[in-house]
């Protein structure tokens, strides 16, 4: 999801940008400090998700929502005032984050926005991908994928039934796969979270494959696993 940050505090914008860049399925599309700039970006750029501060210098964030039409992107409101929660409910936002918020809370909000997007036929992410294998276009259901491994200029997509070697980049595949179901745990691996059999130290096991997890991704992996368990 192409994600925009609207907050007048520069440190908050840097914070959220970092979280977006670390979150599979999210792409950082830009940030701005006021509603006027945000409105301009939203008119000219396809944005799927907005992290919107309520207290902006030129306009209340909720007032901005009133100006956006019915095809507006998913909104996650951010504020330090819990009192806005009831009012936000009337605007059908995906979620409401009270500053300061934890990684886990941020992830929950993103997953909510992702589920809303999936349930909307206009914005739902397809449940399959097409890949070119030799000269043939093969359809692969996302539900069949176990993991994806980088192989120099190619990637290997391992499903329950077979292995596909495809001329593609890990980055392009990562962007096609839904955050919350898939996670890039290492430069060379993307895994389907509900296929993880166990986690051993800095590795995970899927089937009989031992997959390394980078230190930077281990915390995010554990948070996502916990969220799957608690939903």
């Amino acid at each position: 999801m192409q994600s925009l940050i609207v907050d007048d505090d520069e440190m908050v914008r840097i914070d959220i940008e970092k979280r977006i860049r670390n979150m599979p399925g999210l792409q950082f599309a830009g940030s701005c400090a006021n509603a006027t700039e945000a409105a301009g970006i939203l008119m000219n750029t396809k944005i799927d998700l907005v992290f919107l501060d309520v207290q902006l210098p030129d306009m209340n964030g909720l007032q901005l929502l009133k100006l956006l039409d019915n095809k507006r992107p998913n909104i996650i409101l951010i504020t330090s005032k819990k009192e806005y929660a009831a009012e936000a409910f009337d605007y059908e936002v995906a979620d409401f984050l009270v500053k300061p918020f934890t990684d886990e809370r941020f992830l929950k909000a993103v997953l909510r926005a992702s589920r809303i997007r999936q349930s909307n036929p206009d914005t739902a992410v397809p449940d399959h991908i097409f890949v070119r294998v030799n000269s043939v276009l093969e359809k692969i259901n996302l539900a069949d994928i176990l993991f994806i491994e980088a192989l120099a200029d190619y990637v290997q997509i391992q499903t329950h039934k077979q292995r596909y070697v495809v001329h593609a980049t890990m980055k392009s595949l990562e962007q096609s796969l839904e955050s919350g179901r898939f996670l890039r745990v290492h430069n060379s691996y993307i895994v389907r979270l509900d296929q993880i059999a166990r986690i051993e130290d800095n590795s995970i096991v899927i089937g009989d494959k031992l997959i390394p997890v980078s230190r930077a991704k281990l915390k995010l992996l554990l948070e996502q696993i916990n969220l799957l368990k608690n939903q």
Partner: protein, 119 residues
């Protein structure tokens, strides 16, 4: 190794996930923006401009959270929400405390930035 006394980088380190440039960027923004906001706060407290006190106190809070000083954040929260309940002397006292602590925080940040840049 630098051991800052007046800031706590635990939260920033956790967010950074090994990316020191992130920590550096956040500390730089704090050190650039906070002095002028503090100046505005002090002036508005002296002149009892309640709306400006509330707005400025609100704007200053996130920064102090990120550098691990939620005690200062709480003081700012008090200024933001309780200007009508506090006397002028009370507001002045709180503001002076924030000001003196901020000076120490900025010194720690300067030393931390020097160390980060030398790594």
């Amino acid at each position: 190794m630098n051991n800052p006394q007046h800031i706590d980088l635990g939260s920033l380190r956790e967010m950074a996930r090994g990316d020191n440039r992130f920590i550096e960027k956040m500390l730089l923004v704090f050190s650039e923006n906070t002095p002028s906001l503090l100046n505005t706060l002090e002036t508005s407290v002296r002149e009892n401009q309640q709306e400006t006190i509330a707005v400025t106190a609100h704007r200053m809070q996130p920064g102090f959270h990120y550098v691990g000083r939620n005690d200062i954040r709480e003081m700012l929260h008090t200024l933001e929400h309780k200007t009508a309940d506090l006397s002028a002397d009370e507001m002045l006292g709180i503001t002076r405390k924030i000001s003196s602590e901020t000076a120490l925080i900025l010194t720690d940040i300067h030393e931390t930035l020097t160390e980060l840049r030398s790594e």
